[in-house]
Symmetry: D2
Subunit: 336 residues, 4 copies
Amino acid sequence: MIKVGIIGAGRIGKVHAESISKYVSNAVVEAIADPLMSEKTRKWAKELGIQNIFTNHEDILNNKDIQAVLVCSSTDTHSQMSIEAAKAGKHVFCEKPIDHDLERIKKVLDVVEESGVKFQVGFNRRFDHNFKAVKKAVVDGTIGEPHIIKITSRDPLAPPAEYVKVSGGMFLDMTIHDFDMVRYLSGSEVVEVYAMGNVLVDEAIGEAGDIDTAIITMKLENGALAVIDNSREAAYGYDQRAEVFGSKGSVSVSNDKSSTMVMSLKDGVHTEKPLYFFLERYMQSFSDEIKEFIEAIVNDTPVPVSGIDGLKPVLIGLAAKRSLIEGRPVKLSEMK
Amino acid sequence: MIKVGIIGAGRIGKVHAESISKYVSNAVVEAIADPLMSEKTRKWAKELGIQNIFTNHEDILNNKDIQAVLVCSSTDTHSQMSIEAAKAGKHVFCEKPIDHDLERIKKVLDVVEESGVKFQVGFNRRFDHNFKAVKKAVVDGTIGEPHIIKITSRDPLAPPAEYVKVSGGMFLDMTIHDFDMVRYLSGSEVVEVYAMGNVLVDEAIGEAGDIDTAIITMKLENGALAVIDNSREAAYGYDQRAEVFGSKGSVSVSNDKSSTMVMSLKDGVHTEKPLYFFLERYMQSFSDEIKEFIEAIVNDTPVPVSGIDGLKPVLIGLAAKRSLIEGRPVKLSEMK
Amino acid sequence: MIKVGIIGAGRIGKVHAESISKYVSNAVVEAIADPLMSEKTRKWAKELGIQNIFTNHEDILNNKDIQAVLVCSSTDTHSQMSIEAAKAGKHVFCEKPIDHDLERIKKVLDVVEESGVKFQVGFNRRFDHNFKAVKKAVVDGTIGEPHIIKITSRDPLAPPAEYVKVSGGMFLDMTIHDFDMVRYLSGSEVVEVYAMGNVLVDEAIGEAGDIDTAIITMKLENGALAVIDNSREAAYGYDQRAEVFGSKGSVSVSNDKSSTMVMSLKDGVHTEKPLYFFLERYMQSFSDEIKEFIEAIVNDTPVPVSGIDGLKPVLIGLAAKRSLIEGRPVKLSEMK
Amino acid sequence: MIKVGIIGAGRIGKVHAESISKYVSNAVVEAIADPLMSEKTRKWAKELGIQNIFTNHEDILNNKDIQAVLVCSSTDTHSQMSIEAAKAGKHVFCEKPIDHDLERIKKVLDVVEESGVKFQVGFNRRFDHNFKAVKKAVVDGTIGEPHIIKITSRDPLAPPAEYVKVSGGMFLDMTIHDFDMVRYLSGSEVVEVYAMGNVLVDEAIGEAGDIDTAIITMKLENGALAVIDNSREAAYGYDQRAEVFGSKGSVSVSNDKSSTMVMSLKDGVHTEKPLYFFLERYMQSFSDEIKEFIEAIVNDTPVPVSGIDGLKPVLIGLAAKRSLIEGRPVKLSEMK
């Protein structure tokens, strides 16, 4: 039984706490820490059976019983918390992105290596049943050599401009998952990126210095080409699709829905919309990523999403940002 | 080049005339006859290049150049016209049903046999791309031994009560195609029928002595079970589906649509309705059945839908009628 | 927090115990009892945190803290256990069927009424996301007045003949869920049944006095017609579909799959098979039915599946059995 | 009745001749000309009822009865034939592309304008039932303002390297249809193009100086972004999909298939592959484009695909070519 401490009791911290208590039979949430620990959250934690509720994350790091820490704090503290936890000898699961700054990410990876702890990054979509089915078809060779990778990723509702300002920009905040998918599904590395973007959803996003609509194309090391299309707001909900086209065929996945219902009426044939947003859509993947993290600790095997897997999408995102600003394709090798 | 005469210039007669001129390269419509030949129809026939336009069908039968006759007159004259045409030495394509009366059907089959002409019955759905795909999976053994045959057949709009009165009843007018499909798809014969029906669409149909909604179950010679569900009126249009479930799996077909469009909006995901009615849905089958009829003449091979294939569905329909009236399953062997 | 005792630690008893501990936040499994309590099961129960593990169900009934009992014992003891539990003042959730004998079921309902406890029957499919979507479209009036109800229900693998012998026959063992669905989806009562069946899957089932393939048709009180098709073995897995066709349109649901994957290859386009069997397919419904049972206790509101809902499908099943034997439609009113 | 002359009796010339005779009731093919008129083609033309069979296209231009000419000769003669036909006062339907050279295209458009004849370009996909459904949803405003346009276009079999050499390259030969679709579906003009390509299907194509796999992104005048993905060879056949995503939702179309068959077997669920290639897939559009061309002549209304519509995709294709060579986004305004 692995005792886990969670740093950050926001939305994703709560998701992990509940997942662990329901689905991860060989782990228990021993403590949760958040500087803004509200009464409501405190009550929720108690009901979930969490023994230790802290406002200072150091209380988790100082707890000898805790072997693993989940870094679920605000993005700008991910790298610092990861470093502290690794130094305290805790295995670390860090929510994405590790940081927006490459140097700070490298620092984290260095500390992790020195400490000899496990370090997994929260790219949960790798654990999603749909994306796993695509990956399997690629790995099994069923579709042959990958030629074209396509990702469609659209959110149901644009975030407020306030959030946009501190988000690191759409590429680091939202597309970062899709960059990870390109690497995961293709089994190859991105060597060049070209990004086109525009503000079509909400002018306030433009005023905040960001875009809300984009198409990003990539050249991969294995010769394949990849494309991501993003929108901050799809009227019909969370749109999460992927396709890998290869020399022997194509494999694709589309959206999950709340039922298989088909309604045939005078005005047409109707089906359900996609599941609303990431909490509805990816819940299964959130528990599975933690299950595998715990397994890696228990069996002392490599984690399924490494520190490098955490670094690379940030690198691609920064290249995409530069491409957008400079209006030209940018090689990953340019980004130092 | 086979010269064809068409008896009856109503809707289906016109469909065949146009089909032949467009799609049947080795046949030509030499003449068309209808006692009510309107000016409009006459004009249409001329534009289609039909040389001979008659009001008396005997003018067709007396034409030595004409080798084949399509009986497209009103249902109550099908058997008489077929007999006359066969006696005149013409090959006969007869629209379904041959007759509502078994004795008259048998008379037709006898005359046909004596005359040695080809005789094909207009069960066009056997030539439909969807139903052919089901049949192929059954014949190829892909789904193993058939266990359950299911047919859904619903019209987009109930006919007027006036029509219902002379139609022979829903089983002989509408379900007759589905009875044919059960035989065609199963490759077996019906031995017993049980019919449940009700008037749920239009009371006037009930007052005309008929039903508008039915479920008919059948036991087949090979041990399989079959079920047809019918409605005279589906709000969303013409619903034409079939499934054969067997020892190795299942094959099914659903409705054709005017496009593959998928519209994803705030209020749901929407697709097209089925093609409106039989003229839209089955046009390809109407030309293919005639193509194969002409081929059978040219190559002197058996027609794809025989006189027996015309008789059997009427027999099943009459048994279903009796079952409905007497409220019990009826064996085909009871029907003389 | 409702304390629950579970009588029977077989497959379904375990499913409920695990469901409650994961998903039912206001209930706890206080005790479990099974005369054959194996070491393995005992270990499982301990790991799940169940405090009391008994071999005698009376230990549950005598426990004052326990407010609700789940009857998950073998079918032939359902009615007796329910009676004892009700007399002990416990709210009862009873797995289906209550009994194969109408008199014994009525006895249970009488005792329940006298005791004033809640009594819910385990027709879990009513809580399934797909069937609920159909029900909603019917209740909302979206598809108008129901005319035709269709249920397809096929198991992935025929049971051994040994099981068949004690199962009460396919209608009471398997179709009983479908009879419940007909009532649930139509919102009406069955008045007459006609059943056709055959042994097409496994001769041993025939030798055991049962059938493995059936089509059952029903007339409903509201005039609608219903049909169920059953097979004990579908090569492609568990096939669970339903459709309600009404005056304004149709609503249907098809099978759940493990992913939305579409694979397009040289030999065709391929998708996943249905989820394997009821544990994979209906897990969500097993927890939701208990959630609602607990809610009914907590809020003292009516249970969502009543004793009458438990009795009626058995009545329909017995009528179907008689119909099959006597080869005629059987009115429910004949069954006393 | 419009008398039509066809210049070029290759594959597409024959398609148009047959389409006209079957589906275009107010036009007749009066003559066909081809310098390589084979005996087989001559026989085919006679059987189709074409009166005049020439080896010299001037015999068509000199025929006073002929009002309209279809330019179906080899691509390198399209512009010259169009100019000659326009000067001879014939209305011109010209297969795509008009030319690979912008100056020669402009010359054609100038001559057409001086001559006052109708001039339509053969972008048949605009008449396809699927793409029309997308266009309608855009024009009706159902999906709001277009934000992202996506086209997938993959051929079933790579052409021989010999063909590739004279084809003008993939962008002018194959993608040109997709460039037209971007303009048609978005209702806007391309302002900038960025093309990525590779040789992944057949090295011989690379040796012939072309690519076989590409992703092309575009910025449009209305702010929307567009992307096309192309492959010269999809193992599963001709892949023709499109999506327009906008402020109110998304509309997409997928491939047509030869039947709606679904086969459920032990090894999975299987459906048909897409229709094989453009002759199978787009036959309906080939007749509809000619129907509308003839209508425009008869009613003296604008043709549905203008000379400018013929020029623009070539311009985009040349820009894409330059983008690929120079490895940078290219503005349309750079192309003179």
